[in-house]
C-alpha cells in the first residue's frame, strides 16, 4: 500500500519556498517519487520539480532561487498515473482566471468520466494524472471568484485535499467527505496549510485547526484571516480514511482529531482485549507495528522487547544467487535478535496484513532463532477490497485476506494463533461523535460511490 501524495501551501511568509522544502521533507513519508515547489513573486511563478526525495530535489539550496512570500509544494507517489517527469506536481497552467499552480492529494473516483466530459467540451488533456482535471474544470467554467471556484470543486467529487496559487490567493480545500487530511497553521503573520501537522512542527509553525470536509479556504496575500467557503452537499456523512490513522500518517502528526501514535497504542490495547495471547514476550514488526505492540504489551502486562531490528539503510534490493530470495530480502530489512526471542513464546504485532509474504518469512526467522511459539496479532480488520480514493493497493488477487478464508491464513502463515482487530474495536477508539470513517478496504462500502 502506498499513500499517493502530500501537499503544502504558504502565504504571507517571507522566503516561502525554502520553508516549503522543509515542510515537504517532514511529509516525505507520503510520497518518495518526486517533489516540487512553485512560488509566486510579483505576479510571476517560479518552480522547481524533479524525480527523487525532497533532500535530493531541494538539498543543494534549489528552493533559494524561488522568490516570493507564497508557495505550494508537493511530494508524490505515482498512484494511478505513469511514472514520468511530466507528472511531477505542482501542476502549472494558464486559463481565463489567470495563472495557476495546483498540488493535489487524493484520487478522483470519477476521474475517467470527468476526463471524457472535459475532452468532449473541446479541451486538451496533457497528462494521465487526474489532478489535471481540476484545472480543466476551472478553465472551462472560467472560474475566477472564490464562489465560482467552490462550485467547480463541488463538481469534482472525491477524493481530494488540494492547495493552489491563483492570482494573489492561496487556495486550500478538502472534498465534502473529508477522505484526506489537510490542516491550517500559522507562522508569524502568515498562514500554512499542510497534509499533516508534522510539517508545521518542522517549520516552526503552530497548528490552528483541520480544514473541514467540504471547506474551501481562500487566503489572500496580507489577509488577516482566511476566508472560508462551503461547497458540496449539506452535511454529507464524513469518510475519513482510517488507513491514515493506522498506517500512513506520521505517529507525531495530529489529524482527524487524533495523534496517530496514541491511536495505534489504543488499537493495540483493543486488540489485546479481543485477542489476548498466553505468551512470554511481545515483539513489534518495526517500525510499522511499534505503537500497536506497545499498547498490546501494556494491556496484557507482558514484556515488550526488540526481537526484530530494522536496518534503515534500505535501497534497491540485491539478491545473491542461490539464496532463498525472500529470506534475503526480509533480512535486508529486519533481523532477529536471537538472545531476545530464544526459548520464548512470542506475540508478533503489526498494524496491517496485506500480502502476508513478509510476515510469514519473519515468523520463520523467529522460529529459526528459537522462539517456541509465534502468535500473530494485526491491529486492523482483514483487508479485502481496493481503494478508489487515493491509496495505491496491490491487485485484490494478491491480498491475503481476499484469497483465503480467515481460517486458512493462520495455517498458511504458520502461526500458532492469529487475531485481527474487529471493525468495532477499531472504530471504537474514537469518541462516538467522530466515528465517521471510510473503511472501504475492509467492508467494501464506498462512501462516495464509484465502487470499482
Amino acid at each position: 500500500m502506498k499513500e499517493e501524495c502530500g501537499v503544502i501551501g504558504l502565504s504571507g511568509i517571507a522566503d516561502a519556498a525554502p520553508l516549503a522544502a522543509l515542510g515537504l521533507h517532514a511529509l516525505q513519508h507520503r510520497g518518495q517519487e518526486s517533489a516540487g515547489i512553485v512560488s509566486r513573486h510579483q505576479g510571476s511563478f517560479f518552480f522547481h520539480r524533479d524525480m527523487g526525495l525532497v533532500a535530493q530535489v531541494f538539498g543543494r539550496g534549489e528552493a533559494g532561487s524561488l522568490p516570493g512570500s507564497a508557495a505550494v509544494g508537493h511530494v508524490r507517489y505515482s498512484g494511478v498515473s505513469a511514472n514520468s517527469p511530466a507528472n511531477t506536481q505542482p501542476l502549472l497552467g494558464r486559463y481565463a482566471g489567470g495563472e495557476i499552480a495546483l498540488a493535489h492529494n487524493g484520487s478522483l473516483a470519477d476521474g475517467e468520466r470527468l476526463a471524457r466530459e472535459i475532452v468532449e467540451r473541446g479541451a486538451l488533456l496533457q497528462t494521465s494524472s487526474n489532478s489535471e482535471i481540476f484545472l480543466h474544470l476551472l478553465a472551462q467554467r472560467r472560474a475566477s471568484s472564490d464562489e465560482e471556484i467552490a462550485l467547480v470543486l463541488a463538481e469534482a467529487g472525491a477524493s481530494f485535499a488540494l492547495v493552489a496559487l491563483l492570482g494573489d490567493r492561496l487556495l486550500a480545500a478538502r472534498d465534502p467527505w473529508g477522505f484526506r487530511p489537510l490542516a491550517l497553521g500559522r507562522l508569524g503573520q502568515g498562514f500554512v496549510v499542510a497534509s499533516e501537522s508534522c510539517a508545521f512542527d518542522q517549520m516552526g509553525a503552530t497548528f490552528e485547526r483541520e480544514i473541514a470536509p467540504g471547506e474551501l479556504l481562500v487566503i489572500r496575500a496580507d489577509a488577516k484571516q482566511p476566508r472560508s467557503l462551503r461547497f458540496g452537499p449539506e452535511n454529507p456523512p464524513q469518510a475519513k480514511c482510517l488507513l491514515e490513522l493506522i498506517y500512513f500518517a506520521r505517529p507525531d502528526s495530529l489529524l482527524f482529531g487524533h495523534t496517530p501514535h496514541l491511536f495505534r497504542l489504543a488499537s493495540g490495547k483493543a486488540l489485546a482485549r479481543e485477542h489476548p495471547a498466553e505468551a512470554d514476550l511481545v515483539v513489534a514488526i518495526p517500525d510499522s507495528g511499534v505503537s500497536a505492540a506497545m499498547g498490546y504489551a501494556e494491556e496484557l502486562n507482558l514484556p515488550l522487547d526488540r526481537g526484530l531490528i530494522r536496518n534503515h539503510y534500505v535501497g534497491r534490493s540485491f539478491i545473491a544467487p542461490g539464496q532463498p530470495a525472500r529470506a534475503a530480502a526480509v533480512r535486508m530489512k529486519n533481523n532477529v535478535v536471537r538472545e531476545v526471542v530464544r526459548g520464548k513464546r512470542v506475540v508478533l504485532v503489526d498494524d496491517s496484513l496485506i500480502r502476508g509474504t513478509t510476515t510469514a518469512a519473519l515468523g520463520m526467522e523467529l522460529r529459526a532463532a528459537g522462539s517456541l511459539e509465534v502468535h500473530l496479532r494485526i491491529a486492523c480488520p482483514p483487508t479485502l477490497y481496493p481503494c478508489v480514493y487515493g491509496v495505491d493497493f496491490p491487485n485484490p488477487k494478491e491480498l491475503m485476506a481476499h484469497k483465503h478464508p480467515i481460517a486458512e491464513i493462520r495455517s498458511i502463515l504458520n502461526m500458532d494463533s492469529l487475531g485481527y482487530l474487529s471493525m468495532e474495536g477499531l472504530v471504537g477508539i474514537s469518541p462516538p461523535e467522530e466515528r465517521q470513517f471510510c473503511a472501504a478496504c475492509w467492508n467494501g462500502e464506498y462512501p462516495a460511490g464509484s465502487r470499482p
Copy 2:
C-alpha cells in the same frame, strides 16, 4: 543565432523508433538541448524524451523500447520558451479527435494572440511553448477529418514545419509561406518526413520531394501514397528562410531546391565578384565559412589554405584567471597555423557576421601570427533585424550591423577591408523563378507580418 528545432516522422516502417533516433542524430545540428520520440503501436503511444544530445538520450538503446511502425521525433533548441523538461517535444495530448503526438519546428509569429484567444475560449495552457497552440486549436475545433485539420493549420499563421501522429495517421505540414524546410522520403514500403534530407541518407531512405508551402500530407498506416491537402491563402508569396541555406542546414542536405554546400560555394563566388581582394591567401573561419571560402578562392584563383584549425572538443568553456578571456575562448575553438599565414595578405571568409567579437579576435590572432593584411569578407548582407519566424537572435542591440554604420565596422574590427555580399548577389544564386525568400533579418520586410 540558433535554429530552433528539427522534426522527423515515419509511417509504415517496422521498428520506426530506432530509425527515428538515427534520423534525429543526423538533424542534431538543428537543436542540441533536448531530444524525444513518440511511437505508436496498436493504438497506444510510447515515448521517451529528455534533455541532452540524441546520442545521450537514445544512445543506450532507449528507442528499442518504443514499439510500432509509426513514430515522430524532435530535437530542440529552447527558442522562445524556457529551458525545462516540460518543454521537450513531441508534445502529447488527448482531445476530442483522439490521442495526438506533435513535433514542431518554427515559431508562431502570432503566438501570443492565439494563446489569448484559446484561453478566452475556456482552455488551459500548460506550457510556454507555442507548439502547444496547434493542439489547442485542434481540440477547440474538435478537428478530426483531414479537412478539418487543414482548416486549423490555416488559422495558425507562420511559421511552422510540423509532424504529428493522430489515430492511424502521420501528418506533416509546412506553413503557407514555407519558412521552414520539410521533405518527404521513402523507405521500403513506408514513408519518412524530415526537416532535412540528410536524415534520409542516415536512415537509408530516398528523397522523394519537398513538402510544399501550405501543404498538409496525411499518411495513413499501410497507405500506398500520402494524401495531399492544401490550406491557407491561394498562392501566397513564398518566404523560404535564407539563413537555412547559408548557415543552418547541413552542407550535404537538399532543401529549397539547393544543396547548401553548393549554394554557399556560389555565394563565395558572388562575393568575390562584388568584393575582390588583392591578397595572397584565402582562409575560412571553420567550419561555417569553409564552403564560401572555397568559392571565393576559386573565383579569384587565389590559394586557399587552412590558416585556422578548429578544435572539435568544445564543451563548457573555462577561462583561466589573468587570461584575456575573449582570446582564450576564441583559441579554444580555433587556432592559427602560423606557418601558413605568416607574411601573407589574408582574406578571411565567413558566412555571416552577428556580434563580431569572435571575428575581431580572430583577426588579431592572424596579425599576431604575422599576417600582413587581413581582409574580411562576409557571404551575406549586414544582419540588422531580429527574426519572428523561428530563429533565435541576439538582442538587436548586440548586432554589430545594427549598432554601427557599415563604414565603421571595418575599423572596429580592425580589418584592412570589409565586404558584405549584397542582397542581389545572394538572391541571384537561385534561378529567377525561385527567388522568393524571407530576408527579414537583412531588409526588415516581414513576409507574414508581425513585425516585432
Copy 3:
C-alpha cells in the same frame, strides 16, 4: 563519532562476490562513504569499488560480474585519510609474495612512524591511508608463508581487524589487543569472516566464534578448517572497544561476547540504579538511546513512551533562511509527540553525549511541548579524550565534557538533572573475567600506547 570501516571475507563459497555484497549491506552502519569487493577466480582478481552506499555501488548487480569462490569486501568511513576515490578499499597490490587484496578496519596508532620507516627503505607510498602500510610491510619482508605474514602483523601494532586474499589463501586477523571485532562463520562447506555477526545472518551463514586478539586465520581454498596462528606479545591485556558495544555495533550482532541490544539494556538498568529520577515518563533519543531507555524504565518501573519520533528520510540537510538553524536540523531528524510528553516529568536517555548541541535542542523541544521537567541520563561516562585506534572523534575542544566541568554541563544543557553512567557501572555489565576493555575516550588510558 564515526566508525571507520567494516570488512568481510569469503572462501570456498560459489558466487562469493554477490554474497559479499549482501554481507556488506548488513555492515553498512560501519561506513557509508564507499564500498568495494575484490573476488578471486582462477588466480586473477576482479574488483568493483566506488563512493556511495552498498546499495548504490552494488545495487544493479555489479557483484555478479566478479567471479570466483573467494572474495573480500569493505565499507568505509574516511577516518584519517582524505575522502577520495583512490582511498576506496579493498586495496590491491602486487609484491614478491604475489597479488594481494586487503581490507582493513582500524587505525594504526603508529602509522606515521611506520610510514617513515617504509619510505626510508626505498618504498613508494601512494595513498594517505594507513591500510597501505600492511602491504608495504609484507612487500619489504617479502612475506609469503603464513608464519612470515604473522611476523609482519606483529610489527604493525594496533589497531586492526583485517581480511586479505593472497594466492589461494583468505587471511583474517585481529591485532593483539583486540580493539576491533572480527568473527568467523560457516556457510555450507565454506567460511566467512566479518566485522559483525549480523552479516552472517544476512547471508544465511552461521556464527562459529570470534577471531581471537593476536590471531591470524589462514583459510586455503577448499580447506576443511582454517589454520590458526598467534602473533604479537604473549597474553597482552585485551582492549576491546567499548564504543562498539554501546554505540557502533548493530543491536542484533554478537561481538565481544555480547549482544549489543542486551548490553545496552543492562547499561540502562545500571544507570537507573546509579541515577534514578523522580519522573512520569522515560523517553529515548531514537534510535541510539532506545535499548538503554528500555532498561532504565524497566529498572525503575517507569512508563516508557515514544515522546520523540525519528524521521528516517534524512539526507543532506537544508535550512530555511530565518529559521533557527539548529532547531530546524534537530527537528529534521526527531520530532516531539506533544500528546505524549505534555504535562510530564520526562527522563531523556541516550547512549552518549559528545558535543551536546543536539541534546540541548531536544530538551528545549520537550519543554516547548509542555514537559514539566527534563532529566538527562547518559549510558556511559563523560567523553573526554580522542581515539587513536580507529574511531573518528570531533576535536577534543568540541567535546562537551572536555570543555566544561561536569557540574556545569547540566546548566548549559538546561536540564533539571544529569547523570552519567560510571565506568564501574559500565564495565560491571560484563562478567569479571571479560572486563578487559579500551576506555581511553573516558579515562585517557591508551592500552596500546601512542597517546595523542
Copy 4:
C-alpha cells in the same frame, strides 16, 4: 589507433592549475578518457583527476581550487592498462626523495621486466600502468639530486615524455630516442612544457624549443633558466614517431621540427607524384585526410571539393534494427554530398589505412551517389606491425595490410586503383639531416629493441 597521452607542466606562473586546464584542453586529441592536474603550493600537492573530457573534469572551475604556481597535468587514453579511476594521472607518491607527482606519455617497451625486478627488490606495485615504474625506480634508488634522477631515467628505456613535480622542481624529460614529443615554452617569467605547442598557443605562451631526446630539464621555482642534463647512451639514433606527424598531432602544432598540416600537405604532393590518378575530383576523408588531399589536388592541379561532410556530433553509436550496421555507423560520421560527386571520377585521400572497413564503406557510398570511379590514395606506407612505444594498435590480425598482399587490398576495398605513399617518399619530406624516425609499424624495425 589511439595516442596514449598528453602531458603539461608549469612553473613560476601564478594560478598555474587553471592555465594547465586550458593547455590540457588544447591537448584533448591525445587522450579523451581521463584528465588530471596536480598543483603545488607551499610544499603541498593539490589534485583533481577524473574520467572524462577536460571540459567535463575541469569545466566548472575545478582547477580554481588547486592553488600554487607550479602544476603538472595529463590527458589519457587507456593504452595497456585497464580503464579504471585508479589509473588516472598524474600519479602521486611519497618516497625518500620527497612527495612527487608524475605524468607520462609513452609506453615502456621493457615495462614488464622492470616491474618484475622492482617487485623482487621488495616493492609494492599498485596499478597496472607502467607509469608507476618511474616512481618505483626513483624510490628504490632514493634518487633525489638532479643527477640521480637522470641516472634513473636512463634505466627506464623507451618510450617516454614525462613531467613531474618534486620538491620545488618541475622535471621534464624525453627518452634518448625521442619517440614522443615534448616542448618548452615561456609564459611571462615562468616556463611551460607540453606534448605539443598548440597548448602554448591556447595559454598565450611562446614556443621556445623542443626538449631534446635524452634531455632532462630541471626547472626550479623562480629559476631564471631551466637546467639541462643529458642521460642515456651518447648520441643514439633518434626515432621520432612518424605517426605523430601524419596522424596524431594537431595540424597547427609544431613538433619534430614540422608543422603537421604542412607535413601532411607535402605528403599529399609526394603521393600525387608517386601515384597520380586520371580523375575529375579529389575528395578528403574528413578530418584526417584533409591536408594530404589538399596537397594531392594541388600537385596534380585537380579540383578539390567537399564530397564528404563530417557530422561532429558523434557520441556512442546506436544502430537501428534491420539497418546494415556498418553503413549506418559510417554515415553517422560522414555523409556524401551527392551533387558534388555524381558523375565524377573521384580520388579519395586519407592519411592511413588500418582495418579498411570504414574506407570500403565510404567507397560504396560514393559509388551509390553516382561516382564513376573511386581511386584510393593513402599518404603513408602499408601498416603491418604493432607499436610497443606508446600507440595503441588493433591486433595485427585486424590490420588490412597484414592480412592481405597489397595487390589484393584494392579488390577487397573495391577501388579502381590504390596507391600508398612509399617510405622514401614519406621520409623524404624532411631535410636529410632530420630523417631519423621510428617507422616500426611499417617496416618492423624497432629502434629501441623489444620487438613484440
